[in-house]
């Protein structure tokens, strides 16, 4: 691209024929949403962003299915296999094994007794009490255990062999500080982190637009009240506010205790804090742009033509403030994913053992020397989400901004 070419969006590689086609297409009457959509889908980066976000949303919603499909769950601990690097095979812990045997005995008490007598008779195990024979057996090395059960006469031979084989689990991303599977924790962590990300994006955009545009458009008293409120929230020291919120017992508040019966108290507090503290920068940016737009000719024209305030703000002003808005909102996503983790240091985020990318990253920090992968993997996921939201934001900006539409 030479220095003097006026920069237009998506001017990179459009062959003459396709642009002919496009011009023809564009000359047809199109609704606003159609224009936005057709513009959007040409932006490859934006599509990449959108698909990544959709992918993570599916992962979040389908976490139990993924858990079922992989056969590894997020909460099984294995404390003697902590901090295993990615691509590790590990053996199940004693309590998992014994739980299996317990279930087996409960289901087939007679068969179990027979196996136990045989185990003792053949001198494979030497338990203190005869009913512990199976427990002793299950805690042997897998190969040895299989070898022994082969010699036992029981209709459940194959079931028991399968059990032993299943105790060997494979961990693509390794294990964490309690020997839990990192991949599954990341999958479940998607729920909280994407939830927080999307929530903050929507809330901050909505409140920010509302407050910013009202203040900017009407000015005067409304502006003073709204912007001083914004200033107040911006300048309020966060830490004491959070500690006070942490100390509030929602169950004691007559109206809110109804909600807490259904949901987790700390999640309600988390959502409240995120909503309360996410929108001020957006409001400031929107107001700044609207102040300048208010005096433009096309607004004056719209006013003269008798357009209502609502139409002017939504139809004529919003498309023009979208640029700074989207940057602030999309950058806020990454910040809020990390903010959620910081909150859990005050007991305000989600409670253990529920994972989130942010708290996985925080927890891995002190041991960055010993198990760097524990910090790197969630860190990269956060980066990927931030990149995706920003590309999506850029794409939306190009698509919505009336000035960038190629006509």
């Amino acid at each position: 691209m030479s220095e003097n070419t006026p920069p237009t969006s998506h001017s990179t590689t459009t062959s003459p024929e396709t642009s002919q086609l496009k011009i023809a297409e564009m000359e047809k009457a199109q609704s606003f949403s159609q224009i936005v959509f057709s513009q959007f889908k040409e932006n490859k980066a934006a599509l990449f962003g959108a698909f990544t976000i959709i992918f993570f949303v599916f992962v979040a919603l389908g976490a139990p299915i993924i858990e079922w499909a992989l056969g590894v769950d997020a909460n099984t601990q294995n404390v003697f296999n902590r901090y295993k690097p990615p691509f590790s095979h590990i053996q199940a812990s004693q309590d998992v094994r014994e739980k299996e045997i317990e279930n087996f005995i409960r289901r087939h008490p007679d068969a179990a007794e027979k196996i136990q007598t045989q185990l003792i008779a053949q001198n494979h195990v030497q338990p203190i009490r005869p009913e512990d024979a199976l427990y002793e057996w299950i805690n042997l090395e897998s190969d040895k255990a299989i070898e022994i059960i082969e010699e036992i006469d029981t209709p459940f031979k194959n079931e028991l062999i399968n059990k032993v084989k299943n105790f060997n689990s494979y961990h693509i991303f390794g294990t964490d500080e309690l020997g839990r599977d990192v991949l599954m924790r990341l999958v479940y962590g998607t729920q909280v982190s994407m939830g927080v990300g999307v929530l903050v994006a929507l809330v901050s955009a909505f409140i920010g637009l509302l407050v910013g545009s009202m203040a900017g458009y009407y000015g005067g008293f409304i502006d003073t009240v709204l912007m001083r409120t914004t200033d107040a929230l911006l300048s309020l020291p966060l830490l004491p506010v959070l500690v006070v919120i942490a100390a509030i017992d929602l169950q004691k508040i007559p109206f809110l205790n109804v909600i807490t019966q259904y949901g987790n108290e700390s999640i309600i507090k988390l959502v409240f804090i995120l909503c309360l503290f996410s929108w001020m920068v957006v409001a400031r940016l929107v107001r700044g742009s609207i102040l300048s737009l208010r005096e433009r000719e096309f607004i004056l024209a719209a006013k003269t033509l008798g357009a209502t305030d609502f139409t002017i703000i939504v139809r004529h002003m919003f498309p023009n403030v979208i640029a700074p808005l989207l940057v602030a909102v999309t950058l806020g996503v990454g910040e809020s994913i990390l903010f959620e983790a910081a909150l859990s240091f005050l007991g305000l985020g989600i409670q253990p053992p529920t994972p989130s990318w942010g708290n996985m990253l925080f927890n891995a920090l002190e041991l960055i020397y010993e198990a760097p992968f524990l910090a790197i993997i969630p860190g990269l996921l956060i980066l990927l989400v931030v990149v995706s939201f920003n590309f999506l934001g850029d794409g939306l900006q190009d698509a919505i901004d009336p000035k960038s539409v190629k006509r």
Partner: protein
């Protein structure tokens, strides 16, 4: 699209490279290149906690205690073996050595003890330390205009008298008969010749003395200190520099300059150590997890450091709220204890460097016992837990949790948010209780809320996980006596947060305080422990260990594991 994914890939790969290379490259570390980094000329100690000015009457932060022992010495202290030893005095008075006796003074039986100050004990400016300095300290402490955090230390001594001819031989008259009269480890003298004018001038104003004390206004005045070192520079929030006190009464310190530097983030302590900003990490530094990881690296890479672990008097446990209807049943409490595998917990999470706890007395305490004939011990036994719960009527349901009368057996475990070790233990225990069908949910709070509100006012609904910091032979009355159950009536001042009421234990803890015979005290404590372990008002978890990192060539350094820090021996430290 291709371009994006390529650049993305590139950044990912480079990010991976950067981090792996910096972890790998560590092995070629700097330790081998500069083996002779240390000499007795200078030692830089890293601490991770804030400190205040050094006035011994007022200061109460841990880091200040740590440092003030370098410059200030008191009557007595506990050494690393757990024995009470004299510091500024010739010997610790006792009934056996006839330096203490019970006398009737003003119609009441009291302990009267004789403390004789060392002849060569002086302040840094050469003025001798005398009984008048101790007397002055008690006067200041008694003032209502001074905010002394622990008034009882000074108020238990009602009168200090001495003969003008020998101002070093002091007679202490105590407020009553107490066997622990000699435990004056935090009883410090204050230099009367320097501080009395300040107290006279400002003592009548509220907080006037502490605002104008020379410890605040002129902290580098050598006359304020009587320890092996004096302060040569103090910058709050950053560092303190110490140089030897030429007038010190004891052995001359070997290290010529000590800098204590505040490194607030424990994650960067290691980097600061390796890059030479500090030479030693004090007990207020590494978390256990970090120390374990660092110890491995020291071995692998043959670094010139030694990681020290010292079992301490800190007792991590879970207080059970005995008002909880489910927890009222002793079988449920026992089942909770039987179903947790403490041995695995300490071996897996702490690599055996912290011991599993059996009750509230810590192993180095002379009162400790693990004799099964004296206390009840609970070994991990899942089937026993199952049996107890079945007996108590809690039937296992299809979902893997137990129910009784349509109610699920479920509890809430609360602890301090942001404390990684506790959160880890919490999740580990949650999982173990799930195996026997008990549903336990976590609810964590910031330390301020947790200690300031929840445990203090017994607002936790069933379980609270935290630690008690005690010292050897300290009375368990505050945590076990039924009058110490926090309530609005007693201003929430007790620490029996369980709400445990046991008449026998009440009597025993009260008698214990007046019992003068050591072996009788021990058997009384063992009786208390028997009730404690039988009735399970608390789930003991583990005894914490102190950790420190020192250079290998360092000599004379010994961790104590109790509240009297290793700096009491600082004159013995050497790097050559």
């Amino acid at each position: 699209m291709k371009k994006i994914s390529l650049t993305l890939l590139a950044t990912i790969v480079s990010a991976l490279l950067i981090t792996t290379s910096c972890t790998k490259k560590d092995s070629a570390g700097s330790a081998s290149t500069e083996t002779n980094r240390y000499s007795n000329n200078e030692l830089k100690i890293g601490i991770s906690q804030e400190f205040e000015t050094f006035n011994p009457l007022i200061s109460n932060m841990m880091a200040t205690t740590y440092m003030s022992r370098m410059v200030l010495r008191g009557l007595t202290t506990i050494n690393a073996d757990g024995k009470w030893i004299p510091q500024l005095v010739k010997e610790v008075p006792s009934f056996e050595n006839k330096k203490a006796s019970i006398k009737k003074v003003n119609g009441k039986d009291r302990v009267v003890a004789e403390w004789e100050i060392l002849d060569n004990a002086t302040w840094g400016d050469g003025t001798p330390v005398t009984c008048a300095d101790f007397d002055f300290a008690t006067k200041v402490a008694a003032s209502n205009n001074v905010s002394i955090p622990d008034k009882e230390t000074y108020s238990q001594v009602e009168k200090i008298s001495w003969d003008e001819k020998n101002p070093k031989k002091c007679t202490f008259t105590y407020d009553k008969v107490r066997w622990d009269f000699y435990m004056l480890g935090t009883f410090f003298p204050v230099p009367k010749h320097l501080e009395e004018p300040v107290f006279k001038k400002y003592g009548s104003q509220k907080e006037g003395y502490e605002k104008n004390s020379l410890y605040t206004k002129d902290p580098t005045n050598v006359g304020l200190y009587n320890g092996p070192y004096v302060v040569s520079r103090i910058q709050l929030g950053d560092h303190v520099t110490f140089i030897p006190n030429s007038k010190f009464y004891g052995e001359a310190p070997k290290i010529k300059k000590i800098i204590v530097k505040l490194i607030p983030n424990t994650g960067t302590l290691e980097a600061n150590l390796r890059s030479g900003t500090i030479d030693l990490i004090s007990t207020m530094g590494f978390a256990l997890d970090q120390a374990l990881a660092f110890e491995k690296k020291v071995k692998e890479e043959k670094l010139g450091y030694q990681v020290l672990f010292q079992p301490s008097t800190v007792y991590e446990h879970i207080d059970l709220n005995l008002d909880n209807p489910f927890l009222k049943d002793i079988k449920v409490r026992k089942a909770l204890l039987y179903s947790i595998n403490k041995d695995d917990l300490v071996n897996a999470l702490f690599e055996g460097k912290q011991q599993p706890a059996i009750h509230l007395i810590t192993p180095k305490d002379p009162w400790y016992t693990d004799d099964p004939s004296k206390v009840t011990l609970y070994k991990y036994n899942k089937r026993e837990a199952d049996r107890l719960l079945d007996e108590a009527g809690w039937k296992m349901g299809e979902d893997g949790f137990r129910t009784k009368d349509g109610k699920k057996l479920s509890f809430t475990i609360m602890t301090t948010a942001g404390n990684k070790t506790r959160e880890l233990v919490q999740v580990y225990l949650q999982n173990q209780w799930k195996q026997v069908g008990i549903d336990v949910t976590a609810k964590n709070e910031p330390a301020r809320v947790f200690f300031g509100e929840t445990t203090r006012k017994r607002k936790f609904d069933s379980m609270a996980l935290f630690a008690w910091v005690s010292s050897p032979e300290s009375s368990p009355k505050v945590t076990l006596h039924s009058s110490k159950i926090p309530s609005a009536k007693n201003g929430y001042s007790g620490q029996n947060q369980m709400g445990w009421v046991n008449k026998k234990v009440d009597d025993l803890t009260t008698q214990l305080e007046a019992e003068l015979d050591h072996s009788k005290r021990v058997s009384m404590v063992h009786e208390i422990l028997k009730y404690y372990t039988d009735e399970v008002p608390v789930i003991p978890l583990y005894y914490r260990s102190d950790v420190a990192v020192i250079p290998t060539q360092m000599k004379g350094y010994r961790l104590t594991g109790h509240q009297f820090p290793e700096t009491n021996d600082i004159e013995k430290w050497s790097l050559e």
